[in-house]
Subunit: 255 residues, 2 copies
DNA sequence: AAACAGCGGTCGGCATTACCGAACGGGAGA
DNA sequence: TCTCCCGTTCGGTAATGCCGACCGCTGTTT
């Protein structure tokens, strides 16, 4: 396999860099972060700006992401088969469980949320679609890790950040947990990402039984778990039924 | 100004192409559409795939947009100042008017929706954020055209499609309409995009009074308009107040 | 007020870079 | 089983984009 086109790789790196920080970045910062000459970075940025992938603040000259990316991002949602085939089941699952339902797929050592059904009550919630969750501290991520859709190495590259005192932060603790998830066919996360919250997730399989994504239910720990701190069996059943139905819909024969 | 980086321009063209059709595209189709050699297109696609901007269907070998774009798109929303400074006012406007509120900015001869507050009632609605509306047949687009934020030329390049019999499809009809919008400070669209629907929009100004976007209210024609088919004066007042407030928030001195 | 420092932007020479077109191989359909 | 189609590979070529020094501006410091 021949080498990738470098200018495009660099352009993508710049976009990722701009997406990383919430702050606008100057030309110098961009060039320094990627080890490029200023002139080189400027050429790439000028091109990205020309195609509306990047915008430049008129006052400060600093750069930020551009509008075209928003349209490309939603177009991705439109063509994503995993998402479109899951929507109906995710809706039903949210209705029956009374909790928020999310769908995830791996991206760069994290979990990308590609669908989010709000909890049916009318409380204020923010749309998570497009957000990135950690692989090691979310039920969706653990499923993806356990079934090989995401690699532990990619998670380690990002780093096993300790969000709460329950977060699994060492690889030796992670491995047996993943084995158990493979065994039982679903994953739980209880106050590992934020205190008071919990979630469970199950794998979604595509053609040859390959796991292509995960679906999860999440909410306050007192509703997701029973008095012993274990996920509610009834919820698990609902979740696994939904995951199986979606898998069949995607062409997974006998799961 | 030196020339833009061609490989990046081509990569962007491929992404736009993939975003255009809802269908997955083969290598040959991509190469032919852009007039590139198959080898060239393949190299670019391979790179885009490597950075997760593009995915390849394992079965058919066809290409589609990739997951990284979704995250970049939502990151764009996070840093967009026009959006973040408008959210509160858009919310309030939706509450007071009882109708859906949308925010738009120009992109490639169309209007990109960067914010969407649902109509307060509980009817089924689809999120328009990331969608593209026509410049000539939407109230948001007409505002952007009238105040020079989008050019009539860019609209003509896309084409003045006739969605209904009320759509303005000839430039000579468009120009006086835009002059009137400039005059009165707001735009209306009554059944020009789809029968039964109407909308009104007003400009949002940034620093030097430059129009940077538009905010609009839309809904069924019988609620937006009065019995004579003219937009409700009360709605217009609410809308213009919101637009003015946001403009001031963005630093527009006296509008 | 003047000098400076830091910024984004520009320019021209060099060699690396990515482009092209033809040939390959595998899969699906006939 | 044969054939066509399509994604992929490969090597030669010169066009391409990269580099690093230089420019002009703005805001700050002395």
């Amino acid at each position: 396999m021949a080498g990738p086109v470098q200018s495009i790789e660099r352009a993508a790196a710049i976009l990722r860099l701009l997406a990383g920080g919430p702050r606008r970045l100057g030309l110098g910062e961009v060039a320094a972060s990627l080890g490029l000459a200023k002139g080189t970075a400027h050429g790439i940025l000028r091109t990205l700006q020309h195609v509306d992938f990047v915008e430049q603040d008129a006052a400060t000259g600093k750069y930020q992401l551009g509008a075209a990316l928003l349209h490309l991002g939603t177009s991705y949602l439109d063509v994503n088969e995993l998402r479109s085939r899951s929507i109906n089941w995710a809706d039903a699952l949210a209705g029956r469980s009374g909790e928020a339902v999310r769908l995830g797929t791996p991206l760069e050592g994290r979990v990308l949320i590609i669908h989010h059904v709000f909890r049916p009550d009318d409380t204020l919630q923010t749309l998570d679609v497009g957000s990135l969750l950690p692989l090691h501290a979310s039920s969706l991520g653990k499923v993806l890790l356990a079934f090989g859709t995401a690699t532990v190495e990619s998670a380690l590259e990002v780093g096993l950040e300790a969000y709460t005192r329950h977060t699994l932060v060492v690889r030796e603790d992670l491995n047996p947990a993943l084995a158990e998830i493979r065994e039982q066919g679903w994953a739980a996360e209880v106050q590992e990402m934020s205190m008071g919250d919990a979630g469970i997730a199950a794998p979604i399989r595509g053609h040859g039984g390959l796991v292509v994504g995960a679906i999860g239910v999440s909410g306050p720990v007192e509703r997701i778990c029973d008095s012993k701190g274990r996920p509610q069996p009834a919820l698990i059943t609902l979740l696994r039924e939904a995951a199986r139905a979606i898998s069949r819909n995607l062409g997974a024969a006998r799961w």
